[in-house]
Amino acid sequence: MSHGKFDHIMFKGGVHPPEGKELSNKCEIKEAPLLDKYTVILQQHIGAPPKPIVVKGDEVKKGQLLAESGGFVSAPIHSPTSGTVSAMTEIPGPMGAKMAAIEITADGKDDFESPFPPIEDWKAIDPDELKKRVAEAGIVGMGGAAFPTAVKLSPPADKKIDCLIINAAECEPFLTADHRTMLERTDAVLEGTAILAKILGVDKIVVGVEGNKPDAIETMSAKAGQYDIKVLEMRVRYPQGAEKQLIYAVSGRKVPTGGLPMDVGCVVQNVGTAVAVQEAVVEGKPLFERVTTVTGEPVVNPGNWKFRIGTPLSKVLELAGGIKHQPGKVILGGPMMGFAQKNLDVTIMKNASGVLLLSKEEITQFESDPCIRCGKCVDACPMNLLPGTLSAAAENERFDIAEDYRVMDCIECGSCSYVCPAHRPLVQHFKRSKAEITAKRRKQ
């Protein structure tokens, strides 16, 4: 009952790049040592930026509120250690733009002061109370999108939710943070999932895991029965962990174009998010640290670490034993959807699932050529789009045509760019198109 194999429903398209997970999937999660300084970016989520409530010179405890939620779609920020607020500064964010941040100089004591009491018996607590806790703890989607979790748990009254899906596909090559979390924190994942299910009031709970993690499936299945949770083995195909593809694999439902998972009665949460929810409720601990995979051929000791938010990438690489040789690329996230970085002052944020280094050979720099109309991108697109046509429209700045051809449905998974024999930067064209169309819609 608690373990099902389910491979007859499968999204169309996708790709299967080399997994690269063997570099770090046997490495136990290690606690990163305390640093002297953390620089915590305020805007770590989609939505309104939080408002700082501390000023330079304030003494703070680990877990203390640094900035309060700035609106309905927003999340608060908590201190990663005890110490002093040494500066209100600006540091480069993962997208390159400078972002407001709070610098905490650690006092070395690492005193934890819970901003809210633990709730031992959460089963007896009102769901709204639990949802309030998720919001207060600053929990956001930790798979990458960083959408405030409490908002996802508050569907409008006319949308009936009947299915909670935990996204444990981890379909991005190289990343193993969720895999290790499932193996080492099985109870936390399952209990966090049960709490999420209680908040939503659903009884259909499925954890979807890709078949390339048999040990995680086994460990999770062994305990899932206690919580009435089903663990589902899914076929290994990228992007199996994309929200819409996952919903289709688990429930057979298709999210309509322009729609959200709640339109088909589903809510999807990430494994890391489930653990954060468990910690917030049961331990009274806000979200200020997360498990991140540091990997890639140039890394001396690839592995999985628990980093506090505000840890700079330079320190992250130092902890992983440094680098064997100058890498060709540093990516925050996975190789398919992650963001290339040019500055190691960029910090670990709540959604940093991985720090990936690729060697110069692995990222052979291609010149892009004109489209040869082979149609491989069409076969690969899991959203049934026409990437070639869309890219031609974007290249000629005809975003109106791109909009008609549904570029807004693109999930930016990168499958088309991966297969393109002309090495066209397809996803980059679509990102630009989406930004232009969003800007135009906002003007109207």
Binding site: P94, M95, G96, F339, A340, F366, E367, P425
Partner: protein
């Protein structure tokens, strides 16, 4: 013979009647036009290129006569013809208010470092979305010619990875201003002789690390110019375009990085 005479008379009578009808209707439904519009239109190139922002030369002529535009706003017309139009209408050609675009960055590929290797879409807006672009300076010209492609008059040249406006070709339409993701392009009075070719608000040493021609905020030019001709904005000096200094200030200020200069 008789038939021929009859035919001529009939045609003549019909012609006369129709002529009278037309003459009467023309009087009845006469449209009042300003004869000056036609005269102005004759002095325009008649290419209907739309460069002035109006729907063709006739539309522009109407706007000029109505006072909604100025004779010099036609980018194609010769200055003599613009002057003739101005004379005809008894007003100035508007040349003294002409605005041109200027790209306030001097960091070409020889002066400014590129911090990363970028081989994505050759477009500034796309490049700026990848880790903020490959340029070391987060405020500098990315050099992928998005502004040059947006310019309908080919007034922007790409030189060593830096966009440069040719003021004599620029008509001040402002299309490039919207195209630049770094907001480097300003519309300034055409008679402003000098500019500060830097837009980075960073501290001097930070700028020096990534570029050899930044404004380091030393204020030598502020002292050399008359009071109020330059404005200081943190670590960046701006020309006050309401009261711009003459190009003599370049001599006296001795800008240590050379970011204070003319467009040429």
């Amino acid at each position: 013979m008789e038939i021929a005479v009859f035919a001529v008379v009939v045609i003549a009578v019909i012609g006369l009647i129709l002529g009278l009808v037309i003459g009467f209707v023309a009087k009845l439904f006469a449209v009042e036009t300003d004869p000056r519009i036609e005269s102005v239109e004759e002095l325009l190139p008649g290419a209907n290129c739309g460069g002035c922002g109006f729907a063709g030369c006739s539309d522009f002529a109407k706007a000029v006569v109505a006072g909604d535009s100025e004779p010099s706003c036609c980018p194609v017309n010769s200055s003599e013809n613009s002057a003739k139009i101005a004379e005809l209408l008894g007003k100035s050609a508007g040349g003294e208010n002409r605005k041109v675009a200027v790209i306030l960055c001097g960091g070409d590929d020889n002066a400014a470092k590129r911090a990363a290797k970028y081989n994505g879409v050759k477009d500034c807006k796309s490049a700026a979305a990848v880790a903020g672009g490959d340029k070391g300076c987060a405020y500098g010209c990315l050099g992928f010619a998005t502004c040059a492609r947006a310019c309908p008059f080919d007034a922007i040249e790409m030189r060593d990875g830096l966009a440069i406006v040719h003021p004599e070709l620029c008509v001040g339409c402002g299309k490039c201003v919207e195209a630049c993701p770094r907001n480097l392009i300003k519309l300034v009075p055409a008679d402003a002789e000098v500019h500060i070719f830097c837009s980075s608000p960073e501290k001097g040493p930070v700028k020096k690390k990534v570029c050899s021609v930044p404004c380091i905020g030393c204020r030598k030019c502020v002292k050399a110019a008359d009071e109020g001709q330059m404005t200081v904005n943190g670590f960046l000096v701006d020309v006050n375009y309401d009261n711009p200094p003459s190009k003599d200030v370049i001599e006296t200020a001795k800008c240590p990085t050379g970011c204070l200069r003319t467009t040429a």
